[in-house]
């Protein structure tokens, strides 16, 4: 006879079950969902969970990627491999195209990351998408700690932190008016370490830049940035070759790497478990401008 203790899920299985439930709920209730896919580890874990939620059927929604023009080639390669394997439709919204179309103006000072916001909102609107899955986690940043799983956005794509819908039990409210949409965060309750444990457990394919490699880098604002034609060195910045890996994946002019020899998933898990600096604080220029950088970008309609 089994006892109650035999019917406990591990915390990773419980998180997986919760995320799968969220995916199915959205697809059952909302008209046109889309999964915002960056090619980073979080969006790949999302894709894996979505695959599990609908197996043996195909994913019932397309992927949307905002191409900043500054994406790591290794990330694009992994993206293409996933798209091929799942036989899923990929929509690419390009920042360069948005500039060419006059939707955006490149003033030379605004970061690509910031310009993604308008490109993303335009792509969501023109695709008629009413629910966009994002890989945001509540442990990432202070402003995200209060984000709902179903995050309501008005017709301008804005988030109003003071006027969020209460979210109780696992009863999600997917009501929308014309022009509004929802951001859905199936990984809300996952931590960075959970993501890595899951990738290691499921042997999920992720971009090679997460693993330790030799790379030509230079220092800027205390971060190690990649040498790249689109990301020229400024005066006084010196390029050296070092053994590094990336903890997050964003546009390469803003995403720094860390010195690391972690070359396998198990070594990464070990490194993350003892890390003393948050992944965004360590390597994301976009979150360091002010104490409320993320909060401000989210209000405008960021991922």
């Amino acid at each position: 006879m089994k006892s109650a203790a035999d019917y406990r899920l591990s915390q990773l299985d419980e998180l997986e079950s919760e995320s799968i439930h969220i995916f199915r709920e959205v697809v059952a209730e909302l008209e046109r969902p889309v999964l915002m896919f960056s090619g980073g580890k979080d969006s790949i874990v999302m894709l894996r969970l979505a695959e599990k939620a609908f197996h043996p059927a195909r994913l019932p929604f397309p992927l949307l990627q905002v191409d900043t023009g500054l994406d790591f080639p290794e990330v694009l390669a992994t993206r293409d491999a996933w798209v091929d394997r799942l036989g899923v439709n990929l929509v690419v919204a390009s920042v360069d195209q948005a500039i060419a179309d006059g939707i955006l103006v490149d003033d030379g000072r605004t970061s690509r990351n910031r310009m993604q916001i308008a490109t993303l909102l335009e792509a969501l609107e023109s695709g008629g998408f009413t629910a966009a899955f994002g890989g945001g986690r509540r442990d990432e940043e202070k402003a995200r700690a209060k984000e709902r799983v179903y995050s309501h956005r008005d017709e301008f794509g804005q988030w109003d932190p003071k006027n969020q819908r209460p979210e109780l039990w696992s009863l999600y409210n997917g009501r929308l008016h014309e022009g509004e949409h929802l951001r859905i965060f199936p990984l809300s309750n996952w931590t960075e370490l959970d993501i890595w444990h899951y990738i290691a457990r499921e042997r999920i394919e992720i971009p090679s830049i997460y693993f330790s490699h030799r790379r030509r880098v230079f220092e800027r604002d205390g971060m190690l940035l990649s040498e790249h034609p689109a990301n020229p060195c400024r005066e006084g910045e010196v390029v050296t070759e070092r053994t590094v890996r990336f903890r997050t994946v964003g546009d390469l002019s803003l995403t720094g790497c860390v010195e690391s020899t972690a070359a396998t998933l198990d070594e990464i898990v070990e490194e993350v478990a003892v890390a003393r600096v948050t992944e965004r604080g360590a390597t994301r220029g976009d979150d360091r401008f002010s104490e409320a950088a993320m909060e401000d970008r989210k209000k405008e309609g960021y991922f």
Partner: protein, 413 residues
């Protein structure tokens, strides 16, 4: 490693944020850059010590007002367990946030200041946690350092709280004397209170027995989504996706589908590419039946002689969450498990004063943050159990059809 979700309640003055900051810090869930930012802010503000409470201040509007206005979720893990904290503000006007945080909690943590003893607020927190059927309750008597670690102070507060909770439904209660600021009994047993022979707060959180909280007897499987691949390989595949609300399901089990009442047997249970031997809460699985029945979202799979009650009349405790009051004859949208319908308010039986537990049967409406017993009539049958038996099939939300906002939380009697 398993998962424990707990909700904290208490005001700024009770040291709740300091306690959470300490739990996060001591379990290494706080990173150096976060701590440095808080140290810098504390210095700018001219504080003598690092204000750990700043770690949990989320939004700029909250920092500006110096209060917490919304539920914040925090994460930490020890080698034994992962924890999710629903950190809820304590003020009376934020009852709805506390209800929200408590709705998913396995454990509720109420903080009191040893110098103040029980306040109206701590009683209210205990009432809400018991209404939401949070199975485990902890009262942390904080700031013991400021009362000279006096056992008598602690015993007096404990006795008063135990007497109070006898009027509530509290299946498991622990009372722990702590000092969040000094670290007494937070992670390790305090040497300043040798008279206390119970566990530290962290030890209690790591070891509290939650395996038996789930109902493994009454099978309830709300159908969320029908999986039909329409591919050559899986031509005839038809599976019912959902999350097990309660009970254990196995292939071969005779089951009934509600509301149709048709019966069949479970042909198989799929978890991605694996066929599994049994499914239990809170697993998300796909169930296949032997017979080709007409099953869709909103239906419920259960056992033949153990089914929820199909009803259009609900008698429920409702927490109202919006400024415009709830009144008789009001029409709302209702979401219960995977089923959505419309509901009309037939009657407000009483409003509950959550400080005195007094029932006001004269009440004609429920205002923001008020809780009352209400009768509803729904446009279609819902498949319900009493909330005290099942937190999934016994709960619902009410939605304003004009604004689309969630305006009420209901627990079925």
């Amino acid at each position: 490693m398993d998962l424990l979700r707990f909700a904290t309640a208490g005001s700024v003055d009770d040291g709740k944020s300091t306690l959470i900051g300490r739990l996060l810090l001591d379990s290494k869930a706080i990173f150096e850059d976060q701590l440095e930012a808080v140290e810098a802010t504390s210095k700018t503000k001219g504080y003598d010590y690092t204000d750990l409470a700043l770690l949990t201040d989320g939004l700029r509007s909250e920092r500006e007002q110096g209060i917490t206005i919304d539920v914040a979720y925090r994460y930490f893990a020890t080698p034994r367990r992962k924890f999710i904290i629903a950190d809820t503000p304590g003020h009376v006007q934020y009852t709805r946030n506390m209800v929200t945080g408590a709705s998913t909690a396995d454990l509720g943590l109420v903080l009191v200041d040893a110098r103040q003893g029980l306040t109206e607020q701590s009683r209210r927190h205990a009432v809400i946690l018991s209404l939401l059927r949070v199975p485990h309750l902890v009262l942390a008597v904080n700031k013991m350092d400021l009362v000279g670690y006096d056992q008598e102070v602690f015993e007096r507060i404990r006795a008063e709280f135990v007497t109070f909770t006898q009027r509530l439904n509290v299946p498991d209660l622990a009372v722990i004397p702590i000092s969040a600021l000094q670290g007494d009994n937070v992670v390790t047993r305090s040497e300043n209170m040798t008279w206390y022979d119970g566990s530290s707060l962290m030890h209690h959180l790591e070891n509290v027995h939650i395996a038996s909280d789930r109902d493994l007897r009454d099978v309830r499987f709300p159908v969320q989504y029908v999986v039909r691949p329409k591919s050559d390989e899986y031509h005839d595949y038809r599976g019912y996706a959902g999350r097990v609300a309660s009970g254990v399901m196995k292939p071969g089990d005779e089951v009934m589908v509600l509301p149709s009442g048709l019966t069949s047997r479970i042909a198989g249970i799929d978890l991605f590419e694996d066929e599994i031997a049994e499914a239990f809460p809170p697993m998300s699985v796909v169930v296949r039946l032997e017979d080709d029945l007409d099953v869709s979202r909103g239906d419920m799979i259960c056992r033949v002689k153990n089914a929820p009650e199909p009803t259009q009349d609900l008698d429920a405790m409702i927490c109202w969450m919006t400024r415009e009051p709830l009144r008789p004859r009001q029409k709302l949208a209702i979401k219960h498990t995977t089923r959505s319908a419309r509901a009309v308010v037939k009657d407000i039986q009483y409003r509950l004063d959550i400080n005195s537990l007094h029932r006001d049967t004269e009440a004609r409406e429920l205002g923001l943050n008020e809780i009352g017993r209400v009768t509803l009539r729904t446009t279609q049958q819902l498949l319900v159990d009493p909330y005290e038996q099942n937190r999934t099939t016994g709960s619902f939300i009410l939605i304003d059809e004009a604004t689309g906002n969630t305006v009420g939380a209901g627990m079925i009697n």
